[in-house]
């Protein structure tokens, strides 16, 4: 049933069915999200600046989600020797890198008016900057070794080593004093963000996920084609 997640030809068949409806759905949700963001209220402290959140937070979540997916595929790729895992790793690494970059740039633009600085080396900001470096190393590792098996295995092992950074990013704001504020949505008590601002945030997150998913499907299809014709 979930064969399309590990089998290239099943994936291709599934992707052909799902791609067009997905693009339509994504456009609708993205437009709806942008309208919701436009209509969303101003923050009692930050005013208009709070709207950077609707770009910053979804891209941060997606950067972490993309890396988690790569970690899972690296585990099954090495353990079960499934070539499709390495196709996915190669295809989605640049997507995660771009989400991380969007997160860092939007965060910097947000920090200047609110904190009074573009950048500080606190635990949260530094660990996300390290995530960007890890993504870049993963992309460049793929251009190193001549031997395909060695290259893919090395990349997968590096992805696994880099995955220790994920919990550090998530919990950095709880473990250490940081300038970055703690989590608002993913915490045990009810979210400390008003429902009128949470709704556009979640809709934008779904829109960002679908954009990432569509690009991922296209890149995986392209990678399968390249390998077939080699």
């Amino acid at each position: 049933m979930f064969g399309f997640l590990i089998n290239p030809s099943k994936f291709n068949k599934f992707a052909d069915i799902i791609l067009k409806p997905l693009i339509l759905l994504c456009s609708v949700i993205l437009i709806a999200g942008l309208i919701l963001v436009y209509l969303s209220p101003l923050d009692y402290q930050q005013g208009l600046t709070v709207k950077i959140m609707y770009i910053h937070v979804p891209s941060a979540w997606l950067a972490l989600l993309t890396y988690s997916i790569m970690t899972i595929y690296s585990v099954i790729g090495i353990a079960f020797k499934m070539p499709f895992s390495f196709i996915v790793n190669k295809a989605v690494a640049p997507i995660g890198a771009v989400f991380t970059l969007i997160c860092l740039i939007s965060g910097s633009l947000w920090g200047k008016p609110i904190w009074g600085t573009w950048w500080v080396w606190d635990a949260r900001l530094t660990s996300v900057a390290i995530l960007l470096l890890i993504y870049l190393i993963i992309i460049f590792l793929d251009k190193t070794f001549e031997n395909k098996e060695v290259r893919e295995k090395t990349t997968a092992i590096f992805i696994l080593i880099g995955s220790v950074n994920l919990p550090i990013i998530k919990f950095s704001v709880d473990w250490w004093n940081t300038l970055h504020q703690p989590a608002s949505v993913s915490k045990l008590s009810s979210p400390s963000i008003d429902i009128s601002m949470l709704q556009p945030l979640l809709v934008m997150t779904i829109a960002f996920s679908l954009i990432g998913l569509i690009i991922a499907i296209l890149r995986i299809k392209a990678e399968i084609l390249i390998r077939k014709n080699r």
Binding site: V75, K81, W115, G116, V120, I161, W176, D194
Partner: protein, 146 residues
């Protein structure tokens, strides 16, 4: 157990050990990773005048004074100890009394610091401006929504 599951278990064990190692390193270097000290934490530290430190806390109520056009004096507090801060420069928009702030500066003596930069810290609460007015009207405004 088949070979592939042996590999899977081996990978997972490696990941757990790797994670534990990194966590041990991070928690043992905790004092170097924190972005700022609170005024109380600073008392326990050996510091001499001229040391560069970052101090975080709340701006004490009715302590902010404007000395001249861009010179300010205020107290940073963690509700136990205060630290007097002198600062010359532009304060961030969110900086006000009762609000969290982080200052970076040079220690002058045990209770005074010359700030080189001031950052406003904001918390994880987001709320529409209209709701704040509504809450204040009904005296429901809680002080902990900083």
């Amino acid at each position: 157990m088949s070979l592939r599951f042996q590999r899977l278990v081996l990978i997972l064990i490696t990941l757990v050990i790797l994670g534990a190692a990194v966590l041990l390193i991070l928690f043992n270097t905790k004092k170097n990773i924190v972005f700022f000290y609170t005024p109380t934490e600073l008392i326990g530290k050996k510091i001499s005048s001229g040391d560069r430190v970052r101090i975080g806390g709340f701006v004490k109520n009715s302590s902010l004074k404007q000395i001249s056009l861009n010179q300010y004096e205020f107290k940073i507090t963690d509700n136990e100890n205060d630290l007097l801060v002198f600062y010359q420069g532009i304060l961030p928009d969110l900086f006000k009394e009762g609000q969290g702030a982080v200052i970076e500066g040079l220690i002058e003596n045990q209770s005074t610091i010359n700030a080189l930069s001031v950052y406003a810290k904001h918390d994880e609460n987001y709320m529409p401006a209209s709701i704040k007015e509504e809450l204040e009207k009904n005296n429901q405004w809680k002080k902990d929504y900083k």
